[in-house]
């Protein structure tokens, strides 16, 4: 017999409350869950994901057993795409990105940077963002002990001294923040930031931001090739790609997608390079093509692009990561390199 509607509602309410009680209010990385966090859906996802995590943990401990080094191979690539367990994440990122090698070849370099010549405008720019980097994370709050703000400040300052062409660019604060949360190590965070900003990402953060502008246009070209209806819609309403995707590129999906999903993306980013960003972007757009195409105005389109980064599709990180390697279809580095060249040339002629 069906329970009466009131009884049904009461039960649902109780189940929701139970989910709220079971899922901690602060996530494993120190972030307070937002007011509107969907505890019930999250719990449902996470109970399945736990099984995946357990299986991957066994596989990884076998892989790493007895060996000190991780050799890049097809097997390792496959393993990384299926997710690096949190306890191995820092080590795997360090090795596959080349950060470990850089750190070993340059002993003492990081600490020398911190003692480098003072640069007031650099320090000021970094300081402006200190209280504005993850205020919702208990480890970054001023009252935390130890407070990660000092660590973050050091990593960004050292990086500004190390790469003077880039200095400090907003967005790097969030990236360095994630690196610190994962590695729990200042120097490793610095070398991973260097791997991203200096090698993996093509010139996103330097003052001209040419690499960023290029990649936004490259995404536009890829959408034109693979999801032409969306490209037509964007063009028809005069929506520039930079308006809807600049944060995707600059923050590498931090604060756009759920943290677990971002970390899974970064696993592949460190191992396979910046192509992964296009895969994620294309998957988000292609998966929601019909939804995006419902838009009838400039404002609508912008709203849709915000909404497609929310919901179960992006929370379910394991399925999501499978999708990014199937949904957009083939995406060769040759294609991306060519598009980067042509888009860059176009931008340069436009001044």
């Amino acid at each position: 017999m069906d329970p009466a509607p009131a009884e049904q509602r009461r039960r649902e309410g109780a189940a929701l409350q139970a989910a709220r009680d079971r899922v901690p209010r602060i996530d494993p990385y120190g972030f307070e869950r937002p007011e509107d966090f969907d505890y019930a859906s999250y719990e449902e996802f996470f109970s399945d994901y736990l099984v995946v995590l357990a299986r991957r943990a066994i596989k990884w401990s076998k892989l790493l057993k007895g060996s000190n080094s991780i050799q890049k191979s097809m097997k390792v690539k496959r393993y990384i795409r299926k997710g690096v367990p949190l306890e191995h994440r820092a080590r795997v990122w360090m090795v596959v990105s080349g950060a470990q090698a850089q750190m070993e070849q340059n002993p003492g370099y990081y600490h020398k940077l911190l003692e480098g010549e003072r640069n007031d405008s650099l320090e000021e720019a970094i300081r402006t963002d200190m209280n504005r980097t993850f205020p919702d994370n208990v480890k970054f709050q001023k009252t935390a002990d130890p407070c990660l703000q000092k660590t973050l400040y050091n990593v960004l300052l050292a990086y500004g001294h190390h790469n003077q062409g880039v200095g400090y660019c907003q967005g790097m604060n969030f990236i360095a923040g994630y690196l610190i949360l994962i590695t729990k190590n200042e120097e490793e965070s610095f070398w991973l930031l260097d791997a991203l900003v200096g090698r993996i990402l093509p010139d996103y953060y330097s003052p001209a931001m040419l690499g960023l502008k290029t990649d936004q246009e490259v995404l536009g070209e890829l959408v034109r090739m693979k999801i032409p209806a969306v490209a037509d819609l964007m063009e028809g309403h005069g929506v520039l790609w930079t308006l809807v995707v600049s944060r995707w590129f600059i923050c590498l999906f931090i604060d756009i997608l759920p943290i677990e999903t971002v970390l899974r993306i970064w696993d592949c980013l460190f191992n396979e390079g910046s192509k992964v960003i296009f895969r994620v972007a294309l998957t988000l757009i292609k998966q929601h093509q019909a939804f995006i195409l419902e838009a009838t105005s400039f404002a609508d389109i912008c709203d849709k692009f915000k909404q497609i980064t929310k919901g179960n599709f992006v929370t379910e990180c394991h399925t999501f990561m499978q999708k990014i390697f199937s949904e957009p279809g083939s995406l060769s580095m040759t294609t991306i390199t060519k598009l980067r060249e042509s888009c860059r040339a176009k931008l340069l002629t436009q001044g």
Binding site: D129, P135, P207, L212, K213, H237, S246, R247, S297, Q307
Partner: protein
Amino acid sequence: MSRKKIPRSKGASAPAANGPLPVRPGTVRPGSEAPLNGPLQPGRPSLGGGGDLYDVAFKVMLVGDSGVGKTCLLVRFKDGAFLAGTFISTVGIDFRNKVLDVDGMKVKLQIWDTAGQERFRSVTHAYYRDAHALLLLYDVTNKASFDSIQAWLSEIQEHAQRDVVLMLLGSKVDSTQEREVKKEDGEKLAEEYGLPFMETSAKTGLNVDLAFTAIAKELKQRSMRGPSEPRFRLHDYIKKEGRGGACCWP
């Protein structure tokens, strides 16, 4: 970058070259209660709402140095809230929507919040040409942010529409930190450039709603004023309505 030029105004009847954002072509009907923009299609609950109803929409952009309080001002206006220490630095460009009731008409403001750091200007100025209004902010406790206003104005002059609605706002007047920019200095600068000017506080809410409402009124009136209707006077309006620091120059 193959963006095509979009026709902005239809015919000579539109008084502003920088016309309203077309909700659906030809469907802007003053006074109409009918929703022109339907709610989101059902069946996508996970994607959340957003299907707000409105008669006409405009794009407003917030600009000014990093840390002057652009996001705080916007959140105060959007949600009526100010929670110190909960804001994150804006990277690139982001937006929030709010629908206002202006003289019986639902006016949707799509408000774009931009990163203040200088290097982002080349990314965000691409959007200036689409903006119907610009709110230019400086922080009254930060002289450097006030000194940058001239540079922002040249940037605006170069990239924005000629008839863009522009307003200068001094922010953080509530701050316990020492004030570095006198109200008179703000007034003087505003006078020099013929800009409406107010001092604001996202914390107390001083003049926040007024700034956006004045913009909405001006834009709505520009886009659909009948030939016999009197012109809306933005300067007079904020002078009349503003509290503790609103000022203006005809």
